[in-house]
Amino acid sequence: MIRAGLQALLSHWWRNPLQLVTLLGGLALATALWSGVQGVNAEARQSYDAAAATLGEVQFAQLLPASGDQISEATYIALRRTGWLVSPVIEGRRENVRIVGIDPLTAPGTIGPITLTPGTDVAAFLTGRGQVFGTTQTLAALRGLIDADLVEASDIAPNVAITDIGVAQRILGLEGQLSRLIVAPQQPLGQASLADIAPQLTLRQPQGGTDVARLTDSFHLNLTAFGLLAFAVGIFIVNGAIGLAFEQRRSVVRTLRALGFPLHVLIALMAVELLVLALVAGGLGIFLGYLIAAALLPDVAATLRGLYGAEVSGDLQLRPSWWLSGMAIAVGGTGMAAASSLWRLARMPLLAAARPRAWAMAAGKGAGWKGLISVALLLASLLVIVLGKGLLLGFFALGALLIGAALGLPLVLDRVLALGQSMGKSVTASWFWADTRQQLPGLSLALMALLLAMAANVGVSTMVSSFRLTFVGFLDQRLSSELYVYADDPAQAEQLVAYLAPRVDAILPIQSVQADLAGLPSEIYGYRQHATYSDNWQFLTSVDDAWGVLGRGEGVIINEQLYRRANLNLGDEILIAPAVYLPIVGIYGDYGNPIGQAVVTEALFVQVFPTSVPLRFGLRLPSQDVPALSASLRDEFGLSAGNLINQAGIKAFSLNVFERTFTVTTALNFLTLAVAAFAILMSLLTLAGMRLPQLAPVWALGLTRAQIGRLELVRAIILAVVTTLLALPLGLALAWVLLAVVNVEAFGWRLPLYLFPLDYLRLGAFALIAAALAALWPAIRLARTPATDLLKVFANER
């Protein structure tokens, strides 16, 4: 019995392969975009985590050599023997791979090859030739060059190889030397003072603030927003396809039940059928998602490396958590889309008739309450933005805005079409507008998909471009000196200043100390008064004559992060050192750094922090003199490339990085529009078959089939144009929420919203082309409908 029932149910798909394609394709595309984006994000985060664990800089304080490069092993032992629980690390490069040697016995728990699982040969790690852990790519670079066993470990940061300290010393030729010492969080009583045992070492507190994951979150946010929206669009398609399939199978269901097939078995069969379809589509989607992620990852990795110096593996790995979540979202999405259909089936009277066309129009029913929900959602979104706080609420506002707008779309489109109808005078025009309006319900899901895709593209493009403009402007402000020089130690700094003084227009020392400001980890900078700052730095808000007040040492300027996080205001006094309170006279934007900053004059800085010695200097000089001066500094002081940073070079590099970002964004734009176009194509194809009875009279009244086909195409384009136009304000609203709400909650800065009309024009053109392409085939099919088919409509009604 079950077999027969299943056969009856499945025969529907045989007869309607198009619906099957819609269902599988929609779900697969939705899953693909979602899981592709998640794959990229997961890979990047994994890289950050691995890097953070390797470096230990985030969690642990460290002892660093104050001058010179290395720490001797004797110093390490002396520290251990006087109660310093420190763990040695040696670092160096071979074949551009960072070799990190650790001592697993003294290293704090979370450092080291995290792959030390049962079966690991500890003796082989500690003694003998030793073992070097790294990713496949990393090890490939080292193969044949080092004398140690290479062990693949996927959770180690890219381009980093971890091994025992003794092995690393041997590989690097640094026997008896150490790069730094990690300080365990808990130290014993009676520890000797560092100044007595190792005065040459300096203690650096954990660098929690430089957590690269936080910095790069804004980038990942873009991707996630894309993924989520694409998935929502996909679910719209799936919901449409499933609903239609259920409706068309009513007669089958009726017959089966009349033959005595139990309802619950029928529902179970349909649920299982859907589950199987969801798994197939999910699998396909994950495969496609993998391809998308693999294609995007190199660009994403390059972007992140360039922007934030974050090493991200360009190599995608299939993590179980990733494909399982992809499957879960495919099955869950199908369940969501099918729930109402299954519910209706369960409550359907035994002998209810099939009304596929009525179903297709059902979206038009209850337009009133859909309008109400739409308005309610939009209001809720507004309310959350005005009153709410927190990242989750920000995302809620985003969701409410988009769904509210999508639900309201059919109403607005109908109004617009009514307007067109009132203007159309000829008979054909009147018919065209009226027919378009009555077609609207059947197309509304696809149009909603188009609206969301277009809005997402406008929103995310605006956000990325605004971020780019702001960031480039910020670089212009911050990198106003033509050349930056980094001294290795105070003595060299002194020599550099003496050498440079007669050769440049101005030397601007850059010095900072770490401090807690208003209870938040922050940095305090001292600046030398110079037009460079007052000419270039722009305040988000400031008191009158902020530079004047600041210059007299009577005030402090702070960055936006500190201002927002600590809820400070202009005029509030903050404590920058014991007993030194200063009023805030200006707030400046700061997009390269997640922690708080405050800036005071050099004179005040030196007075408050007398031990701080500036090692970094900005140099003002005619830009054509930069290459010559760089060359002479290299020759005179033996400065390495890392000690000399050319402003033009760094800006060019940053812009190059943004180009990469745009490659990623453009690819995602294209993919989301493709999903929407797919939705339109499927809706039109589905409707085409049902519309024959409506078109036959029009044909009989004298319109040629070619004319009807053309009108079909025009109809699709008009709907797409109106939807695209409506998507523009929605996309801008989306961008505004992302920039002004989500960004503030997530990163503490609010980015200004810039408009990019040319980009929107291009996106709109893409959307129209996508819609037109999607409508082309159904229109051609219609134009080629055999006259006999049209005649049949009159012969036997339906």
Partner: protein
């Protein structure tokens, strides 16, 4: 199991056995194996024996503050070798682990250190005697005059030890059999150190006096495959007599016992399996498990029938491989104080 615990199990078979990882300690591939009728050579034998897989310098002390409060001290240095050889630098296969503890009637402080051999971070030298790991030391001009220090995040101690009697050799002249299969170790003790010094608690320092017991033991295959843990007693009676006894618990529910009677008159008598008995009387909930913290201990041959109870039931050594170790009070046929170590209960 986390990576650190795994590391421990692989490095320290002692700990691995305590964890039920039997088998790791039983193969002695390439390592020297204790042989009967040993001839010791002092002070050389106070230092390490790199040819043997494991070795320890294990000191426990019962001490008293000026107000009569009882405290317990532990200072332990374990050596474990990955290979039977000595080498300089990071390549040395000798690894070290230190445990230090300070027990008060209601608090128990524990800390742990790990070190590689070959780089000077930990080691033992014979003459003058010095055993150390990081800033912890057990050192002096000779084995009879030692200064012992250790420190943790919340406690420290610095005490002087003076031997008041000769070394005592367990089993057959220091060859101590550990199972019916013949597994054995070299084992001797200095059970009579007089102790004086200072302990540091979170509330401040306390001057203390008391007595300490130092065990020296080394082997390559100390336990048999079916042994799951042990209960070790060092008891000092008010009569001046002392008793060392241990039970090695076996997976079939039986146990293997051994004991040494150390008379106040200098007599030493070894007892083989069965003579010494210890029976749990009362269990305590410690660290989520049931641990016997009161025992009935008997050695009928010497008329010993005593109740041994923990001064602080929560003397749980919460180190990477945890066990129970703490001072005990003795009542019954004999009164006195002592130390109890119990492994393999987790």
């Amino acid at each position: 199991m986390n990576a650190r615990a795994l590391l421990f199990c692989l490095l320290f078979p002692f700990a691995a056995i305590a964890q039920g990882f039997a088998g790791l300690g039983s193969a002695a591939d390439g390592f020297a194996v204790p042989a009967p009728a040993p001839v010791f050579d002092f002070p050389t034998d106070h230092a390490l024996h790199p040819d043997f897989r494991i070795e320890w310098w294990y000191l426990t002390a019962n001490i008293t503050g000026p107000d009569g409060t009882d405290y317990g001290l532990q200072w332990t240095l374990f050596r474990s070798a990955l290979a039977p050889e000595a080498a300089n630098g990071w390549q040395s296969p000798q690894l070290w682990m230190g445990h230090a503890a300070l027990t008060t009637p209601d608090q128990h402080f524990v800390t742990e250190r790990l070190a590689r051999g070959g780089i000077g971070q930990a080691g033992v030298s014979a003459d003058p005697f010095a055993a150390w790991i990081d800033d912890w030391t057990l050192a002096g001009p000779g084995f009879d005059q030692l200064r012992m220090t250790a420190s943790g995040p919340d406690f420290a101690y610095d005490v002087a030890l003076t031997a008041e009697g000769p070394l005592v050799f367990h089993g057959a002249d220091g060859y101590s059999v550990k199972s019916g299969d013949g597994q054995a170790s070299y084992y001797y003790s200095q059970p009579r150190y007089a102790l004086s010094g200072v302990i540091t608690l979170p509330d401040g320092t306390v001057p203390v006096t008391g007595s300490a017991w130092l065990d020296r033991e080394w082997s390559s295959q100390p336990l048999s495959d079916n042994q799951t843990g042990w209960d070790w007693f060092s008891l000092s009676f008010e009569s001046g007599d002392k008793l060392m006894g241990f039970l090695l618990r076996q997976s079939d529910g039986t146990s293997f016992s051994s004991a040494t009677w150390i008379g106040h008159d200098g007599t030493v008598a070894a007892y083989s399996d069965g003579a010494f008995a210890a029976r749990p009387v009362e269990q305590s909930q410690v660290a989520g498990g049931d641990i016997p913290t009161t025992w009935q201990v008997t050695l009928p041959d010497r008329g010993v029938d005593v109740t041994v109870s923990a001064i602080n039931r929560n003397a749980w050594m919460n180190v990477t491989i945890p066990y129970w170790e703490g001072p005990v009070r003795i009542t019954g046929s004999h009164d006195g104080r002592g130390y109890l170590e119990m492994t393999g209960y987790e």
